[in-house]
């Protein structure tokens, strides 16, 4: 099918170039209620995404139009010609400045094989299930429901410049709800784990941690009306906050005016009191669903440092935006690695503070830097004792708080993120319940 589509593209005289991305996906899926399987599913699908490019000139300026269309495997040649013809026609009116298409390379770095390639999908579904339920052993709480997905994805990208990139990767996902009941109402918490290799300790450990957090939430008191407090962010919220720095460092964000960051700029502002951020992007991060040796254009990837000691060193740029900004092409890399900070977790907890463990939905607006979330569980340390709290919200703006942030020395790994386990902002707004 891939070559059939390519031949039809080659027959289109009005286009200047093309890219075809083929994804073959086999999946196995289990849906549990408590410990019982409620449904099983499987899929076997193939998708083709075709981008056509049309180069043209107007008033002495070069432009590259493009349009992307799906080609379904059940389409006959006439249908394929029609959708490609429509995309080619649309491209003539897409007036974007010229950029080159990614060129072919001799080879791509070999990725380590996932353990999932060694046995059948059904074998691994059983192993994942055993790991997930290993610590579901408590009387007052445990896993309420759980969904387990394992996808084998075979990708093949070709383009008109000779790019020919292939990979086979695995994407695992476990989404689970834990509950706990003390004297009041039973409470629940949500967690979703994404991974590309089998690590039973991570799966069972995370379930255990979530059950412990649920137990704390079940006895939590209302969040006090503090108005402002230092807040220690942990777990997914740390990754979400660093997502702001990742987003602002993208050449695409600069070009589209979503970020004003300049190379060499101290991005944390002036008079910095706390830790300075150092962030790199690692395409080969172990057990990440985004680990890859090439990006969506087939550009070969290598690790790259983008922020060092709070100074922006490099933009993350794919072929198009690197050309626009006249910077090095890094390719699109989705894994963040952040250096640890100056203090241990214990040291971060010396002063009165709130330590946030779980939000309803921690939201960071990567454009404005605004963040907020309803507290599902946090611990409040008033200088003497620590109590679990729930309800109300935490909010602030990264731009206004980042001049004094502290990062833990201790590190964590969560799919596409590896870095400090905790991040502390000093003057965060708290909407308490009492």
């Amino acid at each position: 099918m891939l070559r059939r589509i390519e031949q039809i593209l080659k027959d289109q005289k009005e286009i200047s170039g093309y890219k075809i991305c083929e994804d073959r996906i086999e999946s196995s899926e289990l849906f549990f209620v408590k410990k019982n399987v409620d449904m099983d599913r499987a899929k076997n699908v193939v998708h083709y995404k075709v981008t056509v490019y049309v180069d043209y000139e107007e008033n002495g300026s070069k432009f590259k139009g493009s349009a992307t269309t799906n080609v379904d495997p059940t389409m006959d040649d006439n249908e394929i010609r029609n959708v490609i013809g429509e995309a080619a026609f649309a491209s003539k009116f897409v007036k974007n400045p010229y950029y080159p298409i990614t060129k072919a390379v001799a080879s791509y770095k070999a990725m380590p094989e996932s353990k999932y390639s060694k046995e059948s999908m059904s074998y691994w579904m059983n192993e994942i299930t055993k790991a997930v339920y290993k610590n579901d052993v408590y009387e007052k709480g445990g896993i309420n429901s759980c969904e387990i997905f394992l996808n084998k994805i075979s990708t093949h990208i070709i383009n008109s410049e000779g790019v020919d990139a292939k990979s086979v990767r695995y994407e695992g996902m476990v989404e689970f709800i834990v509950t706990w009941k003390e004297e009041g109402d039973e409470i629940e918490l949500y967690r979703c784990l994404n991974f590309s290799d089998f690590d039973p300790e991570v799966l069972s450990g995370e379930v255990k941690t979530m059950i412990q957090i649920a137990r704390e939430k079940a006895i939590a008191k209302n969040t006090p009306a503090l108005m402002n407090s230092p807040v220690i962010f942990t777990r997914e919220a740390v990754k979400d906050i660093f997502g702001f720095y990742y987003s602002k460092s993208k050449a695409e964000s600069i070009y589209n005016k979503y970020s004003t960051w300049e190379i060499g700029e101290q991005i944390q502002g002036e008079n910095i009191k706390g830790d300075l951020i150092t962030m790199s992007l690692d395409p080969f991060l172990h057990n990440s669903t985004a680990a890859a040796s090439f990006d969506e254009d087939g550009f070969p990837l290598e690790p790259v440092n983008i922020i060092e000691q709070g100074i922006l060193k490099k933009y993350m740029a794919n072929t198009r935006y690197a050309h626009y900004l006249e910077v090095d092409t890094t390719g699109t890399i989705l894994n963040m690695v952040v250096n640890g900070g100056s203090k241990t977790l214990e040291e971060l907890k010396q002063e009165p503070h709130i330590e946030a463990a779980a939000f309803s939905d921690f939201t960071v607006d990567n454009l404005s830097g605004d963040f907020c979330g309803e507290i599902r569980l946090a611990w409040y340390f008033d200088g003497e004792k620590t109590v679990p709290i729930t309800g109300g919200s935490i909010s602030g703006n990264i731009n206004e708080l980042q001049h004094e942030l502290y990062l833990s020395k201790e590190r964590m790994k969560d799919n596409t993120y590896e870095g400090p386990k905790a991040l502390k902002f000093m003057n965060v707004t708290i909407a308490g319940v009492e």
């Binding site: 076997n44 897409v94 589209n256 607006d365 708290i430």
Partner: protein, 471 residues
């Protein structure tokens, strides 16, 4: 004009029937959902133009079988006469076995009534007959109009998405087909002054064709002005306030506060507090809330859901009393209730869950000006940014783009942003004291179940006056 059914699906029906017949020799229940959704997404901004297929574009099939204990499903997107044997083999080999190996919940075999029905939606202008040149030209005009308004505008995105959805549902007794269009368009404006950057956006959506784009120009300048005004907005001072929720925020509350909480797959999992409150008061007695594919003509209106159940109008809350939940087919089977036509999938590749459709509060008798005049100190909240459900514990998190300050019954012109609304759902719903007359629905965003399974929905209602905690 009437939507035309997908040729591909129509021509596939004999093959699908053969597949059902083959599988029915082994399994006591077999159904097939076939989908063919086409559509284009056009984005025109200050810096780029993009044309691509909509993210919900799909073409494929999902087979559901009763495996002797419960249900199993298999999704595929290649079908041919010569390939039928392989599909049957894959179904026999890959699904339906696990329930015999590990503990499983059992489900009865679905009893279906014989139904043969079809629906072909109606729109004014078929987007498939408008050339990409014209669409890009029209969106560019709107973009240019917005950019000319102020130098504070860093970027403007003008977006038009068209959807042409075709589905068939076939089983032993059912033969259903539907084809209809959806449309959505929005303008998102980014304003910047010194170090501060703010965004404001507004959308149009519905069972519409290309006619929706003609209204964008009327919205453009208001969106630009609001994004610039947001540059001077202050964060909300944490506290409990009297507020008026604009229809989009009323819809956000309906959706997050109560809609997710009455999805009845949550009842099966004992994840919904709502299950304990059926027949009990959960909102003020001037609150009535609906959900249903035929409750309104909007983004989630259809003849049948993704499990072949005909859509309904479900009254979830009547005069403040919780009446019932909304249900997919399997949850209804488990609970012994009647399915409400809310079994929906992100695509043929995903499981069906109990999902909202068009969810909204009914209108009341109050005038907006009287509602504003009744507030001594509070805010008029508008612009949906995001929300998150908490069906088990009835917490609520809704984020609005802005709040307009009201002092002594008058709008002062001052804004707060961002606005985080939190609280306990019944407290919020019982605090509703005034409800305006006109109901407005919107549906340009997506609804997820947790952080996945995205489907198109609409939600809305009238302006409501309530008491909420802001942060």
């Amino acid at each position: 004009m009437k939507a035309v059914m997908s040729d591909f699906l129509v021509s596939s029906k004999p093959l699908v029937r053969k597949l059902i017949d083959r599988l029915s020799k082994t399994y006591s229940y077999v159904s097939v959902l076939g989908t063919d959704t086409k559509g284009k997404s056009y984005v025109v901004s200050k810096t780029a133009i993009e044309v691509k297929d909509i993210i919900f574009a799909e073409r494929g099939f999902v087979v559901r079988i009763h495996n002797g204990v419960n249900y199993s499903e298999y999704s595929f997107n290649e079908i041919s006469e010569e390939g039928l044997d392989q599909i049957v083999e894959e179904i026999n080999n890959k699904i339906g076995k696990v329930a015999r190996i590990i503990p499983a919940n059992s489900y009865e075999v679905i009893e279906e009534e014989a139904i043969k029905q079809s629906l072909f939606g109606d729109i004014e202008i078929n987007p498939e007959e408008i050339s990409s040149m014209e669409i890009i030209h029209n969106l560019t005009e709107v973009k240019d109009l917005a950019l000319q308004r102020s130098e504070l505008i860093a970027n403007v995105h003008v977006v038009y998405n068209s959807y042409h959805i075709s589905k068939i549902y076939m089983s032993g007794k059912k033969d259903l087909e539907q084809s209809y269009f959806l449309g959505e368009a929005f303008i998102s404006c980014v304003a910047r002054k010194a170090e501060k950057t703010k965004r404001y956006f507004k959308s149009l959506s519905g069972n519409k064709g290309y006619e929706i784009v003609s209204k964008l120009k009327d919205m453009a300048l208001e969106i630009v002005d609001q994004s610039i005004a947001l540059l001077d907005a202050k964060p909300a001072k944490p506290g409990v306030y009297d507020v008026i929720c604009a229809p989009d925020i009323t819809g956000l509350i309906a959706h997050e506060a109560f809609g997710h909480g009455v999805e009845m797959d949550m009842f099966v999992k004992n994840r919904a507090k709502g299950a304990e409150y059926v027949g009990k008061p959960v909102a003020s007695n001037i609150s009535t809330m609906h959900d249903g594919a035929v409750a309104a003509d909007h983004m989630a209106s259809y003849l049948f859901d993704d499990e072949g159940t005909l859509g309904k109008d479900t009254i979830v809350i009547k005069d403040g009393i919780l009446q019932t939940g909304i249900s997919d087919l399997l949850s209804a089977l488990k609970l012994g209730t009647v399915p409400t036509g809310n079994g929906r999938r992100q695509s043929f590749e995903r499981k069906a869950y109990a999902r909202m459709t068009n969810t909204f509060f009914e209108g009341g008798k109050d005038k907006l000006e009287d509602m504003i005049a009744s507030i001594k100190q509070g805010y008029l909240l508008e612009g949906t940014f995001s929300g998150m459900e908490d069906p088990k514990n009835w917490g609520i998190q809704c984020i609005a783009l802005l709040g307009k300050e009201i002092i002594d019954g008058k709008l002062t012109g001052k804004l707060i942003s961002p606005v985080v609304m939190t609280g306990y759902v019944p407290d919020l719903l019982k605090s509703i004291t005034m409800v305006s007359e006109t109901v407005e629905l919107g549906g340009a965003g997506f609804c997820g179940k947790g952080y996945k399974e995205y489907v198109k929905v609409s939600d809305g209602g009238p302006y409501i006056k309530a008491k909420v905690r802001l942060g």
